[in-house]
């Protein structure tokens, strides 16, 4: 199978005034067509930064991201994204929010209405078209976010902690739906998460990153039949192994931070927040 998305030695430094912060260090891995890849790592390790680089929202200091072998510079028309806090426009109705990506591509109004309606049906929000985001629950808002991401018919869907701002029961239902959307559409999915069971449940492979500067610590292929059973022996073992790795990383980083200036971590966090590079 040909590679869909390639990360080749992606390295990222943030610099502000005299300080330089090493966020990502030579991250390389490939993602196949139709693969579901999840990325986990200790908090603050830069996994969201990595996703932003794939999305073209940020650029690597060195190394590159390739889609179908072509280097990506800036946002790519075949890459779409689902956001952690949903990223809906509150002044737009549900339908208008789903239409947004098509509107930016100058798709005629009638056509994009139709496409948006179909995608709302798909995520179970038919009949909610004319509501405003404030009238929806968190889970419903994220359904709108997913419909918007899919409406532009992307090849790759990036999800940044997409289930973390939703209550657990709703999140579980939504994960199952995302899994079935993945199965039905055959699109490539990349999910960044700090929720390990979620990462294993959805993934064809789990990429574990180290603490900052983030490197690929290990990649776990998940050879389990879908729908996944969280009580399955292999599932439990993998969960334990990844957790062990992450704990090790966390201890490493705590140790390093004792030796270094802890303020640096805050600075990195601030810079990521403000998106300065």
């Amino acid at each position: 199978m040909k590679k869909h998305l390639e990360l080749d030695s992606v390295t990222k430094y943030y610099s502000e005034q005299q300080k330089q912060l090493h966020a990502l260090h030579e991250i390389s891995f490939d993602i196949d067509h139709g693969e579901f890849v999840t990325i986990v790592g200790p908090s603050g390790c830069g996994k969201s930064t990595l996703l932003k680089i794939i999305a073209g929202l940020d650029s690597p200091t060195s190394g590159e991201v390739r889609v179908r072998g072509n280097p990506v510079h800036g946002p790519h028309s075949k890459i779409s994204m689902v956001f952690q806090s949903f990223g809906l426009f509150p002044w737009r109705t549900v339908l208008e929010n789903v239409e947004y990506g098509l509107e930016m591509r100058n798709v005629p109004k009638d056509e994009r209405r139709g496409v948006a309606r179909r995608h709302l049906e798909m995520v179970g929000l038919g009949g909610y078209e004319h509501m405003y985001p404030k009238q929806l629950s968190g889970g419903m808002k994220q359904r709108v976010g997913i419909a918007r991401a899919l409406a532009i018919d992307p090849e790759i869907v990036l999800m940044d902690e997409a289930f973390s701002a939703i209550d657990e029961v709703t999140a579980e239902v939504l994960r199952e739906e995302v899994a079935s959307i993945h199965k039905d559409t055959g699109k490539t999915f990349v999910l960044v998460t700090h929720n390990l069971p979620e990462a294993i449940e959805l993934a064809d492979k789990v990429v574990v990153l180290s603490s900052r500067p983030a490197k690929v610590k290990r990649i776990f292929p998940v050879d389990l039949n879908r729908p996944r059973d969280r009580a399955h022996e292999v599932f439990i073992h993998m969960h334990r192994d990844i957790l062990h790795l992450l704990k090790e990383e966390l201890e490493n980083s705590l140790l390093r931070h004792k030796l270094k200036d802890v303020k640096e971590l805050h600075d990195l966090h601030d810079m990521e927040e403000h998106g300065k590079s």
């Binding site: 073209g56 929202l57 028309s77 779409s80 956001f83 426009f89 002044w91 737009r92 930016m104």
Partner: protein, 236 residues
């Protein structure tokens, strides 16, 4: 209602010294006659047009400046303290200078009104711009919005509740400024009319003019700004 009745009683019984308060009923009578006179309406229109010109001028300068200040920190730290210093000055203290440079006419009026309107618009728009979540900018980038549509379809609607309240404040404030200038410099608007009538003893006509301004000001406030606000209340 009770207030108007009390007014009528006070005036009829001549509880105030001299003839300083005309009866409410006679003010109403003069009001209905006046609003049918073209000259009177023209006076009001004159003031209103000056006010609108001042507002539009302030809006077209304050909106882009405040947007840049709200989104670019280096610009904000140089610009905003300057704006604050000017904002802290009593606006009307510039009036003699404006009259000296532009003469006691509509130009001075419009500039003064725009100076006064600048601050509420600037600060509300800057605040609104700062409160746009970064994630919404990421959404526009991921879905490949160009700069223009990012501004018109994301930034403008996002800041609109702030912008509307800034405009409303500026509008209310500008009525005071316009009337004050007209009284002080004899520009031929409705403020000047009031001053002329009151000093020549036609108090009922003065009151009728005040009524007319109040009605116009409230009508615009309720219809125009009311509509804008009810739109933004639907979703915010």
């Amino acid at each position: 209602m009770f207030g108007f009745a009390a007014w009528e009683v006070v005036a009829r019984l001549r509880l105030l010294p001299g003839s300083s308060l005309p009866a409410f009923s006679s003010v109403l009578e003069v009001f209905f006659v006046s609003v049918q006179q073209p000259a009177f309406l023209f006076r009001i229109a004159h003031s209103f047009v000056n006010l609108l010109c001042g507002l539009v001028l302030a809006f077209s300068i304050a909106l882009p400046t405040a947007f840049i200040a709200g989104s670019k920190n280096p610009f904000d730290v140089t610009m905003t303290p300057l704006v604050m210093i000017f904002g802290a000055l009593p606006d009307l203290s510039f009036l003699p200078l404006l009259v000296l440079w532009f003469g006691a006419g509509d130009t001075a009026c419009v500039i003064m009104a725009s100076v006064a309107a600048f601050f509420p618009i600037y600060f509300t728009v800057r605040e609104g711009t700062k409160s746009i979540p970064r994630e919404l900018y990421d959404v526009t980038t991921v879905f490949k919005s160009n700069r223009l549509s990012t501004f018109t379809k994301m930034v403008l609607p996002a800041i609109s509740p702030h912008l509307f309240s800034g405009l409303r404040l500026a509008y209310d404030f500008d009525w005071e400024i316009i009337i004050a200038i007209e009284i002080a410099t004899r520009v031929a608007g409705i403020g000047n009319f009031i001053e002329g009538k009151v000093s020549s003893g036609s108090l009922a006509q003065g009151f009728a003019a005040i009524f007319a301004i109040a009605l116009l000001a409230v009508a615009v406030d309720k219809t125009f700004f009311g509509t804008l606000e009810s739109w933004s209340k639907k979703w915010s």
